[in-house]
């Protein structure tokens, strides 16, 4: 931002703090991108105005700027986040979208009433036109996405749409339901329903590609002596062998226990062992370790300490 902040806000050098605030608010309501979604140039101007206000709105910073101690540069507020309009204006209906601004036109968006009125006026009534695609959003639990199954979406008009979730569905995947969109105009075919999937996080599984990752706590005794332990996988509990003398960080691979792929094969589950001391202090263990004479053991040797 190189321009003079006083010019940017349109105030005189001797303006009061009150005048500056008023000038900022007057500009900001015209320029805030979320309040002016149709104005694509608003964002850059809004940034400029906000930066100017960050400088002049603070009497200390303003005094330092006036005395030449700081310049207009570097006063810009870091703003990496996207604006709300970037999401609200993507064209889909969200939890927030509100149709009461036009519900008196007929039923919901895309209803025949409003469309036929608009197209009819232009002499287009009775044409054959494919119905529109409709976009929906569906949040799936981690396991529902991996294991697949039926889910239903409640549509804005109260109807229910059954969705078949294929096993192994990924976050961000879009499922297309043919013919489940808006009805066609005239004898045109209906559009499709496009369902964008978000997969919610799981308390202990994470997924990378088709593989599943899990941190598995094991007891001291299991780590030292080895054991058969039960391990959760997305498709149920399996038993795995923890080898004798297994340290924290050791990874066991459970082949074919990951997410299903479209070709019928499956990813793997990677189990990272985490050695856990007993939850409650154990006097017997403390007594044993106190009298234990280990051979020289420096686990931090590679760090040089």
């Amino acid at each position: 931002m190189a321009a003079d902040p006083y010019t940017t806000l349109g105030v005189k050098k001797d303006a009061t703090q009150d005048d500056i605030q008023k000038a900022y608010r007057r500009l900001a309501k015209r320029l805030h991108p979320d309040l002016n979604p149709g104005n694509k140039t608003a964002e850059d101007k809004f940034k400029e105005v906000t930066a100017a206000y960050d400088l002049l709105g603070d009497p200390d910073k303003r005094a330092r700027f006036d005395s030449g101690e700081i310049d207009a540069q570097g006063s810009e507020r870091p703003r990496q986040q996207q604006y709300y309009r970037d999401f609200a204006d993507q064209g889909g209906w969200s939890a927030y979208t509100n149709s009461s601004g036009f519900s008196d036109f007929g039923e919901f968006a895309g209803s025949e009433d409003i469309l036929s009125e608009i197209f009819g006026r232009q002499g287009r009534a009775g044409r054959r036109r494919r119905g529109q695609d409709v976009r929906y959003h569906l949040d799936l639990s981690f396991l529902d996405a991996i294991n697949g199954g039926k889910q239903s979406i409640i549509l804005p008009d109260g109807a229910t749409l059954e969705v078949n979730i294929p096993p192994g569905t990924r976050d961000g995947q879009v499922l297309r339901l043919k013919g489940k969109g808006r009805p066609g105009v005239g004898d045109g075919p209906p559009g499709d329903a496009l369902i964008e999937i978000s997969v919610l996080p799981h308390p202990y599984f994470t997924r990378k590609g088709d593989d599943i990752y899990l941190d598995l706590p094991i007891s001291l005794k299991q780590a030292v002596l080895g054991a058969k332990v039960k391990v959760p996988t997305p498709s149920g509990v399996v038993t795995a062998a923890v080898p004798k003398w297994s340290n924290t960080g050791r990874v066991l691979r459970l082949k074919g226990r990951g997410a299903p792929r479209p070709d019928g094969s499956k990813g793997d589950e990677y189990v990272k062992l985490m050695l856990m001391l007993p939850q409650k202090p154990d006097p017997a263990l403390e007594a044993f370790v106190a009298q234990w004479q280990p051979v020289a053991d420096i686990p931090r040797q590679s760090m040089g300490v």
Partner: protein, 95 residues
């Protein structure tokens, strides 16, 4: 994202966030009694912060602005739908 990450990234405190969710200014997805927020929720929280802190809007004003904005975005969505239906037709007319 879960509530802790949302608080961290939005710089809101827990009572404020709870009040906003209570007022339905923010509508997180609730799954198994846990709330999950989207990037859109984060951007919306940022907008509410702008309204309250920079623009001096009080709580009643924020509620009205959000209600009108949600209608505005709903209308834009509808207009875009109508536009999309009309566009293929125009090309077939000219051909």
């Amino acid at each position: 994202m879960e509530i802790q990450e949302f608080i961290g990234r939005s710089h809101l405190d827990t009572p404020t966030l709870n009040a906003w969710v209570e007022a339905e200014w923010l509508v997180p997805v609730v799954s198994r009694k846990r709330s999950f927020f989207s990037e859109a929720d984060l951007a919306r929280a940022r907008l509410i912060q702008d309204l309250k802190m920079d623009f001096g809007v009080n709580d009643e004003g924020v509620a009205i602005i959000l209600h009108l904005l949600d209608q505005l975005y709903g209308l834009r969505c509808l207009v875009r739908d109508i536009h999309a239906m009309e566009a293929p037709d125009r090309t077939s007319d000219s051909g």
